[in-house]
């Protein structure tokens, strides 16, 4: 009996076994978010909304809330939502994420990006902007202004209002009188001539960057947004220019 043909046969048989080592459960033929597609011409599995489609929960009938305009198309000058401390703190958090890179933490227009060469935006603390109606801010966030592109996809309507509320707070804080502060707050003010005391340092540190959790995450559902879920409308929006992974 010849050995070679048989061992060759065995080896080729074994070789076939290797085809079994595949990962078909790891990589299932299904679409997960941002997965590429070979079926659609643009290579995306997530499909952009068709022109004129209104998804569930995206029928934005409340013009004041969604566009910041009144019936005549003029910028409104009152918040279409209830503003409280939690709302402002939420605005602060969102502001620090999305606006501070250019506008700076205190709204002076000297953010990190500006320092790297982006066109400097105006400070919020000029009269023109102090007097601008809130609808104007809403319009800028939603549609962009000058060098600033819109943030409609990144910031959802309710958050935009929160940011605006916070901008108002910033504007007020930069213009406030020391006499208006409470005694406690006044204690923590730095003396321009002296370095911070230990208590002042500790007080600054213990002040959280963002407010307490319940305020931060679980703010009440917005009666104006039919879905009641903040950000629900964003899913479709950001798909319009969706990046793909290989």
């Amino acid at each position: 009996m010849k050995i070679h043909p048989i061992s060759a046969l065995l080896l080729s048989g074994m070789g076939l076994f290797l085809t079994g080592c595949r990962q078909d459960m790891q990589d299932q033929p299904k679409y997960k978010p941002q997965r590429p597609s070979e079926f659609f011409a643009d290579g995306r599995s997530g499909r952009p909304e068709l022109e004129g489609t209104i998804a569930r929960g995206e029928l934005n009938e409340d013009v004041a809330f969604h566009e910041g305009k009144d019936e005549k198309g003029n910028d409104i000058d009152s918040f279409p939502v209830a503003v409280d401390k939690a709302f402002i703190l939420r605005g602060q958090q969102r502001y620090d994420i999305y606006c501070a890179p250019c506008h700076g933490r205190i709204g002076n227009g000297l953010g990190m990006i500006v320092r790297r060469g982006f066109k400097q935006p105006p400070s919020y603390h000029i009269d023109r902007l102090r007097n601008a109606p809130v609808g104007h801010y809403y319009d800028v966030i939603t549609n962009g202004y000058g060098a600033m592109l819109n943030y409609a996809q990144q910031v959802q309507p309710r958050d935009r209002w929160a940011i605006i509320a916070y901008i108002r707070t910033l504007q007020y804080s930069q213009n406030a009188n020391v006499s208006e502060l409470t005694a406690d707050a006044r204690k923590n003010l730095p003396d321009p001539g002296k370095p911070l005391s230990a208590e002042q340092k500790a007080a600054q540190k213990s002040e959280p960057l963002v407010p307490g959790d319940s305020d931060f995450y679980n703010f009440p559902a917005d009666p104006a947004t039919p879905s009641g879920v903040p950000g629900a409308s964003g899913a479709g929006a950001h798909k319009s220019n969706q990046p793909e992974r290989k």
């Binding site: 990962q23 459960m25 790891q26 990589d27 299932q28 299904k30 997960k32 978010p33 941002q34 590429p36 643009d42 290579g43 995306r44 620090d96 994420i97 999305y98 890179p101 990190m112 990006i113 790297r116 060469g117 982006f118 066109k119 060098a147 600033m148 592109l149 943030y151 996809q153 990144q154 213990s206 959280p208 960057l209 963002v210 959790d213 931060f216 995450y217 879920v229 903040p230 950000g231 629900a232 964003g234 899913a235 950001h238 798909k239 319009s240 220019n241 969706q242 990046p243 793909e244 992974r245 290989k246």
Partner: protein, 221 residues
């Protein structure tokens, strides 16, 4: 002569038995290490090539851009989402507009064709994973993704082995942090929250109502 083997065969035979056991055992161990548990198999720490050499070190570390500036859906959705080209253009419409490195970004913006990023933290498809619940329960970005602010090119920090997932699911108190520090890089409980993890962990587990979800169908649904 009936003697078949030389006298040296005795020591040879005994050594070979011992060696066979060692080699077989060691070989199996090595195969196991390589096939399942090595960084070769898990691709842990393996910086991937990307169409554009996007640096988290630069954007997060030096610029201080918050994670959620780009990964906008992480709080509300299963998926953290890779940002659309538009998000890049928020700044790069003005900065580095002549850089050839960024030409693919501009091209994508012009042509409305997606940039084909390479997924780095790629879970198998039989795993259900939801970012939002983890973020809400106080699992920091850093806990799974590592010091992204020190990654010039993104790589996978964790093994992403099931053992790794299960370790946290069994002992969440060892890993969770207060929600306000979710995106903080280099979070240290003693400095940031003025408490050791041993004190803080159980408290947070209780406060956030974190369950030790260990059933199969938690992740395999």
């Amino acid at each position: 002569m009936p003697q078949i083997f030389k006298a040296s065969a005795n020591s040879f035979a005994k050594t070979s038995v011992v060696l066979a056991v060692l080699i077989l055992g060691g070989g199996l161990g090595a195969v196991y290490e390589l096939s399942a548990d090595s960084t070769y198999a898990t691709r842990q720490g393996d910086a991937r090539e990307q169409p554009i050499p996007f640096s988290h070190t630069h954007h997060v570390g030096s610029m201080g851009i918050e994670c959620r500036y780009c990964h906008t859906t992480v709080e509300n959705s299963q998926h953290a989402s890779v940002p659309p080209t538009k998000t890049c253009m928020n700044c790069h419409s003005q900065i580095w507009i002549n850089s050839s490195t960024l030409e693919p970004v501009r091209e994508s913006y012009r042509t409305n064709q997606s940039i084909k990023w390479t997924k780095v933290n790629d879970l198998p498809d039989f795993v259900y994973f939801n970012h939002s619940i983890h973020v809400k329960k106080g699992v920091g970005c850093e806990t799974c993704h590592g010091r992204v602010d020190k990654m010039p090119l993104m790589y996978q920090q964790a093994t992403l082995e099931m053992r790794w997932c299960v370790d946290c699911h069994r002992n969440p108190e060892q890993y969770v942090r207060p929600r306000q520090f979710i995106t903080k890089m280099g979070y240290e409980p003693e400095i940031d929250a003025h408490a050791t993890q041993e004190e803080l962990g159980p408290k947070l587990v209780k406060e956030y109502n974190i369950q030790k979800l260990e059933t199969c169908w938690t992740c395999h649904r």
